[in-house]
Amino acid sequence: MNTLSALLVRDIRLAMRVGGGAVIGVLFFLIVVTLIPFAIGPDLGLLARIGPAILWLGALLASLLALDRLIAADYEDGSLDLLLMARMPIEIVVAVKAFAHWLTTGLPLVVATPVLGLLLNLDPQATAAVALTLLVGTPALTFIGLIGAALAVALRRGGLLLAVLVLPLTIPVLIFGVAAANAAITGPMSFGAPFSILCALTLMSLVIGPVAAGAALRQGME
């Protein structure tokens, strides 16, 4: 337990100090969401209708932004070597790293959502629905991204490969996240069904992500 909290604290501290993850991600989210009303024009009805989708897309792209460094930073300075030699399975190590990553990049996006909801003419209830789906859905984005981050390190490729690998896998999360938010706002579907599936997707990714990432890192040992 001590070991895990040490890793969690270290990763959070790094994210805070290195002119960080959290602020940049939220700024990027803000810019993406702000650009869209400019592109579409001042049609308030349309904005309110596609608001949840825009927020979800923005969050998806913003969470992708920092994933590149999730494991690559430790690989480049040799820390990954030592993490592999710890008396702790690498699956748990990467799971803790992904959790720290979500706390510093995913959670700020959820917190920023109400502010951005104003820009998109969403009423408070709709904003709350989107924020709730993001709170449940962003861990799935991080843990699916974890697989891509580990593969990018194992294959010695960075950057764009990660986006190409990860984005297709996030489609189900995007579909059910937006569906749940829309159901809460406009109906007629019930909120429960898509939201439950979104929860299930997140739980699945929490299990599959670390195991797959661990396998990728072991496979990549050369």
């Binding site: 001590n2 070991t3 040490a6 890793l7 270290r10 501290r13 790094l14 100090r17 290195v18 480049e76 300075d77 040799g78 820390s79 070597d81 030592l82 993490l83 592999l84 030699m85 710890a86 008396r87 702790m88 040992m221 050369e222």
Partner: protein
Amino acid sequence: MRLLATDLACIRGGREVFAGLSFTISAGQALVVLGPNGVGKSSLLRLLAGLVRRTGGNVILEGGDPELSVPEQAHYLGHQDSLKPALTVRENLNFWVQMLGAHAPSADSPSIDQALTTVGLGSIIDLPAGYLSAGQRRRLSIARLVTIKRPIWLLDEPTTALDTGSQAMLAQLMGEHLKDGGVLLAAAHGPIGLEAPAELRLGSTTQHTPGNGHL
């Protein structure tokens, strides 16, 4: 305690680096791996550390903890320092002690501040590691070996970037580790300050010359 390696083979990038490599290191003994660049010294150390896949052979630590693998009982000092520039000297060392250390720290292992004083970083404990020189970064990595007790030391060219004073400090630490019954394997191009270590020469003809020191 005895580190037994039998018939080790390593293939990297489709090329055979070495094969049929066997050696034994007893407690308190050091083995220096010699050979020209690219002959597989670093690969051998990384293989023992569990960081490169072993394509053949076996590594056993006789008398070690039966519940732990060999890499879990080894320290690896590679070319990279595993330090985060944004964390202070103490935070860096403290993290690795918590991450790599035993669940119940033994009473005789030095505290973090003691270890940092030993390697000559006692006065800059709260400086971010990003401001350290190459030699200071190396010394901070060496502090890790001292603070966490692990019986096997795998050192890849440990004297790189160290000044003469620090090299003497390292030699003394290696001597103490061997005196405590540890096992040491180092890749080097020149003397690293050990008294008559055994030598393993990698190259076209692999031969094992036992030294006449404290075997």
